[in-house]
């Protein structure tokens, strides 16, 4: 092959792939030749692999034909060719199911092949073995695991790791061998004498063995503990990945049982000064992320040691270590920036790091550790920096600045000026400009003082902005905020300019924005001019623009001259629909259409929010985003994503706002729809409130049960969603027996139970227990027992055997509590203290918590128990203070009466003291809520 064509072949973007059909034909011809031409076959296989690597595929029949002709190459003993054959089998295993036909031949190579191909043969077993054949490789794998040759042993360990989900029984049989392999320092057979240039081994098989061993033992906490103790002794781990894995195992253990942390303390502080940077990093990551969840359990000295390890890693020569250390610090900066202020000098010098990833991260981290003192100097540093990095980095920086503006509202001026400067003076694409505009919108919405300056500059900006979408957003913002600004007429001029100069998309947006100024109270004279402008626009050549102008004129007329509230609301956008709920209601409207849409969609079913509520929700979301970024740290440090115990969403382990709010919302809608379609439930009338689903079993239990409390005006329905996780047992007549805890004074009368007739393996279904409520607010705890009949499944029919009577059985699940919070919906108030003072009824209670809980844990629990909305960002307790005040606001789900709580917390050596001060319109609700808060 000439140099020229070689180059052409290498250039994968030029589209110069070898022709698929030619390759296929060549393969079929050459592979079936006798005798085999090994060089040519190897070359052809490599071309084939290249095709596959580029994403080409073959239809099943061709893939099968290819596989069989490749399998015939096993007749030729030639190591390089055999290696190519394994690779081809690996690739084809995804397309053709016939690869199992290579099993015996591969196993023969594992047994008799040369040391060169043995590891490859072993690895290719992963792709050909299945449940029914895996056992036949047991002996081979076992003897390969104990092989003296590191590559062979590693290959066997990796293959076993991959076969584990396919045939766990087989792999478990060589747990002992695996355990020995961890400590076995295998060396390559000495071929060239002792060479100082080529190390004899990296001891990577230690890592592979440890990885497999962890998988084999991960369900057994005691075994893992023993394992860590055993392998951390005597510096027996030579391989750095193996050491890192050990750190990850510790992380997994303390994630499952935080109390174990203390016993690992000496080990961890030792690891912080390990010779491998990666071990230091992993350990520092473990300590700091554990501390965000369990700050009480981490001694300040250890935390400080972790930070100082990270600090010194910031100045090492290895780029990846610098980056990794910075990344961990950046995560800490989102939760407790005060803890890493010590690193600021190093961070500041990293701004000039030649690696852009590092410099950008350094800046965003600094922005988070920023104090009100150094913000302005930081901003000026970034101003110089931002102009010469790429858009992606610019966006990251802008996002950090945006968070800054939420955290330091008082610094709005320098932040705003910075944003305006980059908006006007920095080159960049749509995403970048959009991120700036979003940051500005945030500042305008949450920092009212900034409004005038921001809007004025945005007006300037739209005079020559090339992006339609951004223009539309700004016009919308002007329409929303402009009318209440001191000088509304200023904006009207800018908006109208757009109508004159721009395309129809922007003109339409401008019309809507303009119409909002017609009712402005700050400048009544505007009414006349808006009307005349709109009338002029009503002759626009574009339909949409014209229509919008005409509608706007109609609305303004009705609102102003006929006092039509609906029209006024429409102009001023007084409320917003909840988009997820709107979406699901609309799609069920469309799918359940029975009368060709003769009945109109009833928009009143959809949840509505007022502007203040919407703002609160948005603010909460933004804060949650920050929160979620930090909770990621806890997730990806565990060795396997699947080993992370599923979070139980109950009060005991509620860890801040939920990740999947949207998902939960949709689920709640689904549950409600299912419930309301049940005949027996219909007489209960409208559903007043539903709780979030609560786990009532461990997530790994045989039957996983989640409970939901549904509240009606005079009834309560408990829903139990049961998942049968057994593989070969069906459950018949599944129901839940609920026994009130205080049975003699039960204010609830059980009406009926709806059971699940049959629950097959891995199915989920709901059963319900309905009660009549004898009082308006009834609080009660229920002991719950799952009752059912088990029947074995006939594997042929996947149904129970005919005539099987089954066994009656029961299973205790966690209790469910109906508390005052279930009668409350969260709501927003713009001015908490004023609202609080106005409310007539009052209740005060004092609690003392002996349990060793942090303030944040108590805050989380109270928010969940009360169903109220935390306001004024009081849901975040400062980590460096012993006291905190939580402010909550909500409304009765039954009557809509307001209730507000102010909870003062003080932590001392004796525990945590709470003083709950509740006020409300309804004295009963207020006192129930206050007194039942810590249940």
């Amino acid at each position: 092959m000439s140099a020229h064509t070689y180059k052409k072949f290498e250039n994968s973007t030029s589209g110069d792939l070898p022709d698929k059909m030619t390759i296929y034909q060549d393969c079929m011809n050459t592979f079936n030749e006798s005798p085999v031409n090994s060089k040519r076959c190897r070359l052809l296989i490599s071309r084939l692999l290249r095709l596959l690597a580029q994403g080409e595929t073959f239809p099943q029949n061709e893939a099968t034909a290819l596989f069989f002709s490749i399998s015939k190459l096993f007749q030729h003993q030639n190591d390089p060719l055999r290696q190519a054959v394994y690779l081809a089998i690996k690739e084809l295993s995804g397309i053709s199911e016939d690869v199992l036909m290579a099993t015996s031949s591969i196993m023969k190579d594992v047994q008799n092949g040369s040391d060169l191909i043995k590891p490859d043969a072993i690895r290719s077993l992963t792709y050909v073995l299945d449940e029914s054949t895996a056992f036949s490789a047991e002996r081979l794998l076992k003897s390969a695991v104990v092989s003296r040759h590191p590559s062979i042993s590693s290959a066997a360990l990796c293959t076993s790791y991959h076969l584990l989900p396919i045939s766990e029984v087989t792999i478990r049989r060589f747990t002992n061998e695996t355990q020995e392999a961890v400590l076995d320092l295998k060396q390559f057979p000495n071929q060239h004498g002792n060479s100082e240039y080529y190390p004899n081994s990296t001891y990577i098989s230690q890592y592979h063995a440890l990885g497999l061993l962890y998988q084999l033992k991960k369900t057994d906490k005691m075994a893992l503990l023993k394992l860590v103790r055993h392998f951390s002794e005597n510096n027996s781990m030579k391989n750095q990945l193996a050491k890192v894995e050990l750190v990850k195992i510790v992380n997994d253990l303390i994630y499952r049982d935080p109390q174990l942390f203390s016993q690992f303390r000496p080990l961890l502080s030792d690891w912080l000064s390990n010779k491998f940077e990666s071990v230091q990093l992993e350990t520092a990551k473990l300590i700091t992320s554990f501390a965000t969840r369990n700050s009480r359990l981490v001694a300040p000295e250890l935390y400080a040691a972790a930070i100082s390890a990270l600090q010194s890693l910031l100045t090492v020569p290895r780029v990846s270590s610098r980056f990794a250390a910075l990344r961990i610090l950046n995560r800490i900066s989102m939760v407790s920036p005060e803890k890493i202020v010590v690193c600021n000098p190093e961070l500041e010098s990293l701004i000039n790091d030649s690696n852009r990833n590092i410099s950008t991260y350094a800046i965003t981290t600094l922005l988070k550790t920023g104090t009100s003192k150094n913000i302005s100097s930081l901003i000026s540093t970034i101003t110089n920096f931002i102009h010469d990095v790429s858009d992606d980095f610019k966006i990251i920086i802008i996002d950090a600045v945006r968070t800054l503006s939420l955290n330091f509202p008082q610094e709005w001026k320098s932040i705003l000026n910075f944003l305006i400067d980059v908006l006007k003076n920095s080159e960049g694409g749509f995403k970048f400009k959009n991120s700036i505009v979003e940051a500005l919108i945030d500042i305008v919405s949450f920092v009212p003082q900034s409004k005038e300056l921001a809007l004025e500059n945005l007006c300037d900006f739209i005079e020559d902005c090339e992006f339609n979408e951004i223009l539309v957003r700004i016009l919308h913002l002007l329409g929303k905020e402009g009318p209440s600004a001191p000088n509304p007429s200023l904006y009207v001029r800018h908006i109208y300019n757009r109508v004159v100069l721009e395309n129809s998309i922007i003109r339409s947006a401008a019309v809507v924005a303009l119409s909002k100024f017609a009712l402005t109270k700050n400048d009544p004279t505007l009414y006349e001019s808006i009307i005349s402008l709109l009338k002029r626009i009503a002759n626009d050549k574009d339909d949409e623009v014209r229509d919008r102008a005409t509608i706007a004129l109609e609305f303004i007329d009705s609102a102003r001259n006929k006092d039509d509230v609906i029209a006024q609301n429409l102009i001023e956008s007084k409320y917003f629909y909840d988009i997820p709920s709107l979406e699901s209601k609309l799609s069920s409207y469309i799918s359940s259409n029975t009368d060709s849409f003769a009945t109109a969609f009833d928009v009143n079913q959809v949840r509505k929010f007022t502007e203040d509520e919407m703002k609160a929700i948005n603010l909460k979301r933004k804060q949650e985003q920050i929160f979620n970024q930090k909770s990621e740290t806890t997730l990806d440090t565990t060795p396997e994503a699947e080993s992370v115990p599923e979070k139980r969403a109950d009060a005991n382990s509620f860890a801040g706002p939920n990740l999947d709010d949207h998902q939960e919302d949709l689920l709640a809608t689904k549950y409600a729809d299912e419930l309301l379609s049940i005949e027996q439930i219909k007489p209960f009338g409208q559903l007043v409130n539903s709780s979030r689903a609560i786990s009532l079993t461990e997530p790994e239990a045989e039957f996983v049960v989640r409970g939901v409390k549904h509240l009606f005006k005079d009834n309560v329905v408990l829903q139990f969603n049961i998942t049968n996780t057994l593989t070969d047992i069906a459950l018949d007549n599944v129901s839940v027996v609920c026994t009130p805890e205080i049975s003699d004074e039960a204010e609830l009368e059980e009406l009926f139970t709806l059971q699940v007739d049959r629950l097959l393996p891995s199915e989920e279904a709901a059963c319900y227990v309905a009660f009549k409520k004898l009082d308006e607010i009834v609080m009660e705890g229920f002991l719950n027992n799952l009752t059912f009949t088990t029947k074995e499944i006939n594997p042929d029919t996947n149904e129970p055997f005919d005539g099987d009577e089954g066994f009656q059985d029961e299973y205790e699940i966690d209790s469910i509590f109906l508390n005052a919070g279930d009668y409350v919906k969260s709501s927003f108030t713009g001015n908490f203290s004023a609202t609080f003072d106005e409310l007539p009824c009052e209740e005060v209670a004092v609690f003392n918590i002996q349990e060793d809980l942090s303030i944040q844990e108590v805050v989380d629990k109270i928010i969940l128990n009360s169903s109220c909305l935390p306001v004024e960002s009081t849901q975040f307790a400062p980590s460096d203070s012993n006291s905190h005040t939580l402010k909550l606001f909500g409304k009765s789900a039954l009557t809509g009466s307001k209730v507000a709580l102010q909870i003062k917390m003080i932590k001392s050596s004796k525990g945590l003291a709470l003083k709950v001060h509740g006020k409300g319109e309804d004295s009963l609700l207020c006192s129930d809520l206050v007194n039942g808060l810590m249940q």
């Binding site: 006798s34 069989f68 007749q75 036909m101 015996s104």
Partner: protein, 183 residues
């Protein structure tokens, strides 16, 4: 010198031509045992074959390319993928397995109907003769309906792979037939 003869031979047989031979039969019949008996002259411990074993062996100056395919029900459908260019089929029967004679017969005739095997010679080993109660070669022949075969050179030989009896006799016959037919 031997070289001259072998190069003359090469000309007759096409240069370096290898003969493809398939060993087929139900699972546990003794196919793999026979293959390695032929190759290394010893009894090896076997496992049920998932897929195939292929070995090249020299026999009487000939290069034989012998394919031993697994006989399990799940693997039988794949036999046909290896029929092309086959000079001969060795069909191995476990002579003690009376219950499955009809299955063996069915698989044999099904295979022989294949277009690609029309010119292939057939050698049947009535294997495991060392076992008490093994059917004799003629009994097996009857069970398999061999007399019905038309237009095909075939033979049945009583064998014991374990004791090494009958195997070379069978193969000698097979090689003679192939040489004859291809000359």
């Amino acid at each position: 010198m031997g070289n001259i003869f072998s190069s003359m031979f090469d000309k007759l047989w096409g240069s370096n031509k290898e003969l493809r031979i398939l060993i087929l039969g139900l699972d546990g019949a003794g196919k793999t045992t026979i293959l390695y008996r032929l190759q290394i002259g010893e009894v090896v411990t076997t496992k049920p074959t998932i897929g195939f074993n292929v070995e090249t062996l020299s026999y009487k100056n000939l290069k034989l390319n012998v394919w031993d395919l697994g006989g399990q029900t799940s693997i039988r459908p794949y036999w046909r993928c290896y029929y092309a260019d086959t000079a001969a089929v060795i069909f191995v029967v476990d002579s003690t397995d009376k219950d499955r004679m009809s299955t063996a017969s069915k698989e044999l005739h099904l295979m022989l109907q294949e277009e690609e095997l029309q010119d292939a010679a057939l050698l049947v080993f009535a294997n495991k003769q060392d076992q008490p109660g093994a059917l004799s070669a003629s009994e097996v022949s009857k069970e398999l309906n061999l007399v019905e075969l038309k237009d095909r050179s075939w033979s049945i030989v009583a064998s014991s792979a374990i004791k090494g009896e009958g195997i070379t006799e069978g193969l000698d016959w097979l090689i003679d037939v192939i040489k004859e037919e291809q000359l």
